[in-house]
Symmetry: D3
């Protein structure tokens, strides 16, 4: 069974790769390459997989999930400028794709020993664009 | 091909396991353990799998799907108190997980002989929490 | 200028007036008259009116608004059975209309001395039904 | 990794198969069989699969995706009557299922040589009914 | 107090005024002028104004509202081509504006004698475009 | 009659008033005071008031509205850092309130001579917080 918790956070980012020229950055990222950055209300769906516990009927303790998401995502990323405040985005371009990979990396170990395993993260940059990552 | 129909129903529930102590129930369910119950506008997505019929171009007769969902979900569960009126929730804790399993159990046999098979049920308790069950 | 904050809470209710007969209750409330109750994810929009402060550029301190809504709405009503746990709904039928009036009554005095005044409460019982109340 | 782009288009259609009798069309399609047609705001989610590029951190050039969707879906289908203006729906019944298959067919070749491959199309006829097609 | 009920219907229309030239129609309506028509999932919010009844706590009998909307809007307009099947749109251009006026005209008399009066109709053609009409 | 067009734009901002101390800024703006800034997908509803034209049935030419919103809002604000790139936010704190006032100021003159007048701007910072401004 899959259980999904959704949270939202607001952050700034700019998509600019110093290994590329100005023109190459513009070609790759368009308006996202604006060096001053811009921002989004990111919406994150974290999907866990497990069996409902025979006694509680729950796949996972939702209070524990909330604490993990608070510590690993909300605290470091909400109301932040990703490039300036959230490693590794000082050196990795914070595209939606790379941000999903980083969130997976932060969360994966947190659920390793529990009854539910991390199955997927789905990250919406806007309502019209989202990525889904399952660790590979 | 997958076809999904979404319906909504309003129900009350309380999450309380008599095999657990008051403290254990509070620890497991938090505010959900309030004995008086509380309620949700549940949103249910029922996903069927099949091939479009060569003549009609339809995977399934939507009027038949509506009749099944009406009989198996809406009639017994909408505007009900799950613990008090909807077996097996007189003895099974109506967590979102257990409710999805019960809905699967009620629907599975209904689509067995038809051109489309039940593939998944996705149940939203709120916009921010949902489970998905595929029968195992 | 109007500023609106939206919150959500889950509650049970039943619409049943002891001054009416069984048949009259059924006629007035339909499925809502089920004595065991049912529930909703209520969505509440609280609208305040005021001028942006010349220094902060804000109509109101949002942290104070959050504290008021937490104390006056979330704490007493979220995860509750309105008829059984939230006066005056032990004697007043908790229709969406009456619930909006009660929320207005609880909030009105809280904003009386502040820079922003309560202008309206809009309460959604479902996505398809909502009421708006401005204190008269 | 999966990346999904969502677009919307407005179109008319009627579900009527000339190989069926009037009664059979009514039985199969109900109100959808109205010969004058009716319409929808279709919502289309196009899902691509690929690896983020090591330099750009992007699975695919979103400007190229937009151009493909503009040319293959928006230009031929938006603000059109599917049966009258969009082959093969002059001879194929434009059910949601058949429309998803046709959109897949139009898009599949467009992504064949690129770094990202077409993985799925999900087509919403309304918020309550959608199909998903993965090419088989 | 205001009470709003929301319904949805699917219809086709074309915006074309025979009193205008082809070029003038294109200038006025753009893609909407396609003679074959296109369609939308219209979303309609009907707002009534009244006082909650002292006994029932309700502004209006929702079952009666549903019956009126079914008879005056859903039955004549849902799954229809407005220009071809719904007078006066055989001679009046069915812009969102004119459609809202016609819906107001059909509904106004229905609520005249009741405890609640028609206050406004809000009609969404898409999520991004809506009109609101209050009878003048 | 009111007609509303909705657009979305992504921007960064920080709420920090140099006339206030660090502690005062934290007290006023909380996490919004992070000097590196953060961002939002702003949703803007622009409401115009006018009569449907007797010939076209339209309150306003939507293509003209789109061009105005593109020039006055999207081009200067989308994918921008409001404090660094969008006057007067180099010296005015870009709270949601002040941003709505600035958008009103930019739009008001654009509709002065036309058949439709600017009636209101409603600006959502998130789904749960929005302001509405009518020019006073």
């Amino acid at each position: 069974m899959l259980l999904t918790r959704k949270i939202e956070f607001s952050a700034s980012h700019t998509c600019w790769n110093p290994a590329l020229s100005e023109a190459e950055n513009q070609a790759a990222y368009g308006a996202d390459a604006n060096r001053h950055g811009h921002g989004h209300n990111y919406s994150l769906e974290v999907t866990l997989e497990g069996e409902p516990d025979a006694v509680t009927g729950m796949v996972v303790d939702l209070k524990a999930v909330k604490a993990i998401l608070e510590r690993e995502v909300m605290e470091p990323m909400d109301h932040r400028h990703l490039n300036l405040e959230v490693p590794p985005f000082d050196r990795v371009v914070p595209t939606t794709e790379n941000l999903a990979v980083e969130i997976w990396r932060r969360l994966e170990g947190q659920f390793g020993a529990g009854p539910a395993k991390l199955r997927a993260v789905r990250l919406y940059e806007t309502e019209d664009l989202f990525v889904e990552y399952e660790g590979r």
